[in-house]
């Protein structure tokens, strides 16, 4: 049976592991290690290979949920994880130093994939940093000639994660 998978990507600390945990029926399998570089200033543990969770669909098929490692130096993993993926959810930490630059990194890296399928962007921790606002993200997407949904989300809230997935499904079905 063909593997069905969704990929969560985005900046370190944006909440990819938490988002997958919100959906997965199994405890998320991850490869977190103690952060030792600049990442340690922001996060005690970080993912270096991938997160993995899964959901069982009504016909018994497994929807596999993968989270990419956040740091760019592990970007060789990104392409591997994206092969054959149904869709992409990009999470950006708005309380990070340069959230728009972070987004640019992922949009650039995954552009070919996004153009051929679709993606949804979730901006996290907007309660800690209100700027940039969602309008600025949309302006940024317009510069890149991209039309994607952007939401402010709290990935600890399952409803927010479900909403992103629901939006992604709608984009895959209706945004052509």
């Amino acid at each position: 049976m063909k593997e069905i998978k969704l990929v969560f990507t985005g900046s370190m600390g944006a909440g990819k592991t938490t988002a997958i945990s919100a959906l997965s029926e199994i405890p998320v399998i991850n490869t977190d290690v103690r952060a030792t570089d600049e990442a340690a200033l922001r996060k005690e543990r970080t993912t270096v290979a991938m997160d993995y969770g899964e959901m069982t669909l009504s016909d018994g098929q497994k929807l596999r949920l993968y989270g990419t490692p956040g740091q760019e130096r592990f970007s060789y993993m990104w392409k591997i994880l994206m092969e054959g993926a149904l869709g992409l959810i990009i999470l950006v930490d708005n309380a990070g130093e340069h959230p728009l630059q972070d987004l640019d990194l992922y949009l650039t890296h995954f552009r070919q994939y996004i153009d051929s399928t679709s993606a949804v962007i979730g901006v996290t921790r907007m309660d800690m940093a209100e700027q940039p606002g969602l309008d600025e993200y949309y302006d940024y997407l317009a510069q890149k000639e991209l039309q994607l949904p952007i939401f402010s989300v709290d990935v600890r809230d399952r409803d927010n994660v479900v909403m992103m997935l629901e939006a992604l499904v709608a984009m895959l079905e209706f945004a052509y």
Binding site: I4, L57, Q147, F151, M163, E166, A167, L172, E173
Partner: protein
């Protein structure tokens, strides 16, 4: 003289059966029913189909509908069990005939002519001039007026805690509520007419003091405008707009903090990429026209729409790329499976 019947969300096979069974029952049982897809007295709706269930939900209070399903799970007054069989179908039509006036044959003919002129199988025709939605008569208008006047005020509605409007902050304050999952009682506030609302101007200081004292929670005032537009328009198009205008979404509504239904996701996805008029949007998304209009109104009042009167020639308004859904039925099935798993169908 006839009675008229239309169908909604029926499978092609069932539609063919209905058509041939009508001929048969008319001849054999002396009843007189005609199919009329635009202006029928009664609509047979396959409520086992998601689009049919949506249609039922949107129109059950204002149209005479027959639920067509495996079981009468909606407890419909008029119900036809699957599969289609001649006798129950005939008996149902006979009973319905007793409750309905007859339609002159030439009227049916005119309606059939109109059917040929309509696009996309959209079944609801609106008298736009008579059925416009003017927010000034609803909570949405009260909120807009407060924003324009920059006047803080407290709004009371029977049985609800006070709603403090603080337009200087673009916020309103009230008790804790989950805007994405409004209770039926909360929905009555959002659909309230202006005359049901008691408004009292207050100073900013008085508002802030009351908010602090009562520990009220802040909400984006536009989320309330969105909710009110969505829940009070009841399928009537926002005044000043046309069904034929080509519209596209500038950006997605931030559904994290807005009342929403699964249908709104489909509409947002389609309208983000395509400029189209309202009938075309309803047709492409297979959603009831009333749902599309309510969503359109909410987007318009939230300033999320790019609108133009005629078919676009602008390079930013992609009207020429409208195509039939390119995804395979297998993929559509998979996406439907995911939504079912999420409980979002």
């Amino acid at each position: 003289m006839h009675n008229t019947l239309s169908t909604y969300a029926l499978e092609k096979r069932d539609k063919l059966f209905i058509s041939s069974m009508l001929e048969l029952t008319n001849k054999k049982f002396g009843i007189n029913w005609a199919l009329d897809e635009t202006n029928a007295q009664v609509t047979l709706v396959d409520v086992d189909q998601p689009t049919g269930a949506n249609f039922w939900e949107a129109y059950q209070s204002e149209k005479k509908l027959i639920a067509f399903a495996n079981t009468n799970h909606l407890r419909a007054s008029w119900f036809l069990e699957k599969p289609l069989r001649v006798q129950p179908f005939t008996e149902l039509l006979k009973k319905l005939s007793e409750t309905l006036p007859l339609v002159a044959t030439e009227e049916v003919g005119r309606a059939e002519k109109t059917t040929a002129q309509t696009r996309g199988g959209v079944q609801r025709t609106l008298n736009e001039s008579a059925q416009h939605y003017d927010p000034v008569h609803y909570l949405s208008g009260v909120l807009q007026t407060a924003l324009l006047a920059q006047q803080a005020q407290v709004v009371s509605f029977s049985g609800f805690d006070p709603l403090y409007l603080v337009p200087q902050e673009k916020r309103c304050y009230t008790v804790t509520m989950n805007l994405t999952r409004l209770t039926p009682a909360q929905k009555t506030l959002f659909s309230a007419r202006a005359e049901q609302l008691l408004q009292r101007p207050v100073t900013l200081e008085q508002a802030r003091s009351a908010i602090a004292e009562q520990e009220l929670k802040p909400y984006d005032i536009y989320a309330f405008i969105w909710g009110s537009a969505l829940l009070s328009a009841d399928g009537r198009l926002l005044t000043g707009h046309s069904m034929q205008s080509f519209v596209r979404l500038k950006q997605w509504p931030n559904f994290t903090h807005l009342p929403r239904e699964p249908a709104h996701m489909k509409l947002a996805a389609f309208m983000l990429k395509n400029a189209a008029n309202i009938p075309r949007i309803a047709s492409a998304t297979q959603l009831p026209l009333a749902t599309v209009i309510d969503f359109f109104n909410a987007c318009a009042l939230s300033n999320l729409l790019l609108t133009q009167k005629a078919q676009s020639t602008s390079p930013t308004m992609n009207t020429t790329q409208l195509v039939d859904k390119p995804i395979s039925s297998e993929k559509r099935g998979l996406l439907g499976n995911i939504l079912r798993r999420l409980g979002r169908t």
